[in-house]
Symmetry: C2
Subunit: 646 residues, 2 copies
């Protein structure tokens, strides 16, 4: 690859010292003036409402004074905000945003389009669909078959994905009841590939069809019934219409078969918002089944198979399995390829299938690493040669390439897309699924429904009014940083190189302190635990790491921290599969004492979104600087006596 | 009141001809430079990562060229966006945004704080809570008792409100089961004021407690059980934990009393998103009970009483009643005071209560009209004298003042708050309710939970990452335009005056055409139907109005429309109570023919958010201009022969 991205990277961001201040100011001013003259060119015959003489009135002058004064107050307040832009920030998933996204957001915000409908956003709704198609192509979805849109963030995107997954899962039941009522015979394909009459399937079989087969039968049924009768003959039997309470009773009545409740399997490392999601959807926390992770914090496929076997034996419907691509805490990338293999095996051997969702809110953009400039997949060897690390291995590439076979994927542009909040995205492999959440507003005429995607995307999404500016931000950013080795692929590759350099340096001799590192991350979040020979118990160790965290946070007692990190808590049972080597390394607690402690193990966490970290020049070397600061923070946390004898 | 707001108004917005371009450019530049120097002042010893020599590399220059080029492309595209800023735009709920909000958003966006936690947004989370407290004070909530936050918009805010309402409704059931298991006696207050042992209440009685009594019993129960045992002894019995399927069966098992499903009552004019919300929550569309509206498109309190009586007779639990303050289509303001009276009567006479939510996403900011500069309520007479109209009457004031007694209220700053997307808000009258949706992320230590509101507001909200910039935008706008007669009250009063002027002018002689007007609006959305003597059927009339709409929309065949409006469809049964006078006026359809037509009645809709409309000077008089344009659009829609003989 040419050296171009290396230099381009320097033009993508304002810079830690606002090195590109002139560029940003020029573009922002351009956007303001361009908008100003657009207003003036619109029906110039209308004349001015605000005259120059009005501007000399005391009321006008007071208002301008108030505005200026209060803005100065806000700017002063913002000075106490977090310096995400700096190489010294290694906390949450935040760094600088691309200039393209900042300027794109601002330029479109002056127009304030509302992407709920083309009527209120003729330009930016198109940009939103383009952006979704770009993300879909990046992960390998067929653009003609897929569909996606932006959301306010990952929680809403994941919520929508699980809502859709549930709707798909229960469709065949509604179809079977509808067929029975209408005396209609209809064939379905079972997970093992054999066909059967829909009326011959037991309840748990109906709830175990493959997604595509469920959607097929639904569409076949709709084609067999005139549109005007859909509600009365079909939709009335759906969960969306009946609600859970009625549905639960109806299942018992119609099938005489009170199955266990439908469950959602999630990787034990899944974001805590999944609990909010199942609670609000009415699925219930109890039905959230955590699948253990392995030592790399990745969902353990064997454990998944064991769970599925047990659930199958009790005929428990599986609404979905949520695999994670880039965990919030460790940036671990589940072996999605193996998860999908397990699903195939379940279809063959256990006779049921389910929706597989990849929560790639954090890691999704890393798929850009796998794409060459011509859009083809790169080999792991080629990527390694470029980045100059032993990352990624072939398994990582297989896991990322498997995204194209997940039923739905969520990716947050406001995380590794380096764009301002708010920007989440949901992608569906089969666009037919979006119909399952469609609700029509009163102003949508029947004629609008044809080609309704172009006109009114609000029909297919959970949210209503939403900023077209977010779509413009992501769109412009993708134009400047393509979703391949020339753009985001390069950028994220640099952060991985930085994370690995940091991980290596954390192994340096810091005697008498020592850093017990979690495994080398799958992307760019480095986790570790600081320790000292005097710490004998888990409680002492946790207190010490909390104190180190405070030294390296904005809450540092008495001043400005040298660096900023975050911390998390690794608790049982979620981390049972991953904790053993860490505990052994630390030597202060057994698996049992750790399991009994509700505080778990406090782990320090450094997110490396800074692409300059790996360079270690020409400015401050923040790898070495961070390690040195960690040692000073450790001394401050444990007191000067911790150095006695050293 | 002084003339000050009249002049201040001219400084609040960029202006239809960008009259305040200099001001905006100055403030935006100030924000950029201020941010730039913040970066440079942070650890200046770190040195520059991007050197001036780097900027001379071809890769850098290419990247800048691409960025500039693509931004120009975006700016060119945006020219085809909707001219919301103009007096000619009378479509959706959009006009200009306040300069304060635009600059505030941009200034904070450069910092990109994430309001999920103070760790990622120490400044703007505080601003968000301030803004919520301001809105709470405006509607009359007790600040110490209330709680609120911003959301991405009205759908998520309403979703969260109903989620919370459901959780409250089912609490006493969980409490009763928990008490039974623990052998605990606990007193509760019944809706009629008498007390009873919780174990003595039947299921439908438990589901009919007042919100505050339900929260009281919950807190009493929690106090009686050590914290570590909450999950095992209490929370395990909640709907959030068990999920609907298990809960449905559990109710039957524990109480031997399979009640009808819980329903949600909504005004028939409620936004279509309520259907999405009940579907996703698992309540089901079938349980969404529409309450008829009266001739002013307001929820009919007598109809509500009739519904409640019928539901009570079948012992159907009522999860919530959603009243609307400012309907999307007509800006109708429900008589919330009467809705609350009906609830009191139900508690007394029918023995059950329920959550009352006001969907004030559109109309909430109009409460600013009712506040004097000192925060006290103004009289209707005083407001009328100021605005110079016969609006508002005492009933309107009673309805707005009743917001302080609703259990929850949602208000969108990105509608009548004139701030950019995304900004919705939810307010809870009793802050204890927020605990019912709390989910803790792994990095929240037990010590964080005390005073957790300040530290981690993400705990109590549905969404996760969200833009602190939105909070800064609303905050700065409220600083410049206070939520009383000097700021938003004045602004919205002007739009009401404009809407009434427009409504009056639509009664002008446009022969041979005629505009059948819906009633004078409660706020500022004017609805009407165009007609002509040659139109004999509802279908012809609808086709004609669709054609007029096309002439006055960006889809106008062959060019730029003179004005821009929207249209909606008034269908049965939702509008049964309101349609009679309109149909009589039009004379082309009976109630029955209208009811049979799935297309309903097409109604043209003009939203007046332009505060300058009422002035009709010094620029183009857009009242007269709009009426004249309507006539031309009608001729174009029906053809020149429509004028034959006139």
């Amino acid at each position: 690859m040419s050296a171009t991205p290396h230099d381009a990277l320097r033009a993508w961001f304002l810079g830690p010292r606002a090195e590109n201040a002139d560029l940003v100011e020029r573009l922002v001013t351009e956007a303001v003036r361009d908008h100003v003259f657009w207003r003036r060119n619109y029906h110039p015959e209308d004349g001015a409402v605000i005259r120059e003489t009005d501007k000399r009135s005391p009321g006008y002058e007071d208002a301008v004074a108030t505005l200026t004064q209060e803005l100065m107050g806000l700017l002063a307040e913002l000075k106490r905000d977090v310096p995400f832009f700096s190489g010294r920030y290694k906390g949450h998933m935040l760094w600088q945003q691309t200039i393209a996204s900042q300027v794109g957001y601002f330029a479109a915000m002056l127009y304030n389009p509302n992407n709920v409908t083309t009527e209120a956003a003729p330009v930016t709704t198109r940009l939103e669909l383009e952006v979704a198609a770009q993300l879909a192509r990046m992960i390998g979805y067929e653009p003609a078959r897929a569909w996606g849109h932006l959301t306010s963030g990952g929680t809403v995107a994941n919520f929508e994905a699980l809502w859709i997954a549930r709707n798909i899962r229960y469709l065949p039941v509604a179809a079977a009841v509808a067929c029975r009522e209408m005396g209609l015979a209809m064939e379905v394909t079972r997970p093992d590939g054999r066909t059967a009459g829909i009326g011959d399937l037991a309840l748990h079989e109906l709830l175990g069809l493959r997604n595509e087969d469920a959607l097929d039968v639904w569409h076949a049924l709709r084609s067999a019934v005139p549109r005007a009768e859909w509600h009365e003959r079909i939709d009335r039997h759906t969960l969306a219409w009946a609600g859970y309470q009625e549905y639960t009773r109806e299942l018992a009545r119609q099938f005489g078969d009170p199955l266990p409740d439908g469950v959602v399997l999630v990787a034990a490392t899944a974001h805590y918002s999944w609990e909010k999601i199942v609670r609000s959807l009415g699925i219930g926390s109890r039905q959230l089944v955590f699948v253990p992770v392995d030592r790399h914090f990745r969902l353990d496929p064997d454990a998944l198979w064991a769970r599925l076997t047990a659930l199958g034996a009790r005929r428990t419907p599986v609404i979905a399995c949520v695999s994670v691509c880039g965990t919030t805490e460790e940036s671990a990338v589940d072996r999605l390829d193996l998860v999908l293999e397990v699903r195939e095996r379940a279809a063959r051997e256990l006779g049921f299938s389910f929706h597989v969702h990849s929560d790639a809110c954090y890691g999704g953009y890393a798929a850009a690493v796998t794409r060459g400039a011509d859009g083809t997949r790169r080999t792991a060897a080629a990527i390694r040669a470029d980045i100059g690390t032993d990352w990624p291995d072939d398994d990582w590439l297989r896991a990322m390439a498997a995204l194209e076979r997940a039923d739905s994927v969520t990716i947050d542009p406001h995380k590794l897309g380096y764009v301002p909040y708010p920007a989440g995205a949901i992608l569906l492999r089969d666009r037919r699924a979006r119909e399952l959440v469609a609700v029509d507003p009163p102003y949508l005429t029947p004629s609008d429904e044809r080609g309704g995607e172009e006109r009114f995307i609000g029909r297919f999404i959970f949210e209503g009014s939403k900023p077209g500016a977010a779509a413009a931000a992501v769109w412009l950013s993708h134009k400047v940083l393509p979703l391949d080795e020339r753009g985001y692929g390069f950028l994220i590759g640099r952060t991985v190189a930085g994370a690995r350099a940091l991980h290596a340096a954390l192994g340096d001799d810091l005697a008498p302190f020592r850093l017990a590192r979690l495994p080398v991350p799958d992307i760019n979040v480095v986790c570790f635990v600081a320790t000292h020979p005097s710490l004998a118990t888990l409680a002492e160790l946790n207190r010490f790491n909390e104190a180190v965290y405070r030294q390296l946070s904005l809450n540092k007692p008495g001043g400005d921290p040298e660096y900023i990190v975050t911390r998390t808590r690794v608790t049982s049972p979620h981390y049972d599969g991953a904790i053993e080597p860490v505990l052994r390394d630390l030597g202060v607690a057994t698996h049992e004492t750790w399991q009994r402690d509700p505080g778990g193990l406090v782990v320090l966490r450094a997110t490396v979104m800074d692409p300059f970290l790996a360079e270690r020049k020409p400015a401050t070397d923040h790898v070495a600087g961070f390690v040195a600061a960690l040692r000073r923070a450790s001394v401050a946390a444990l007191g000067p006596e911790s150095l006695r004898g050293w």
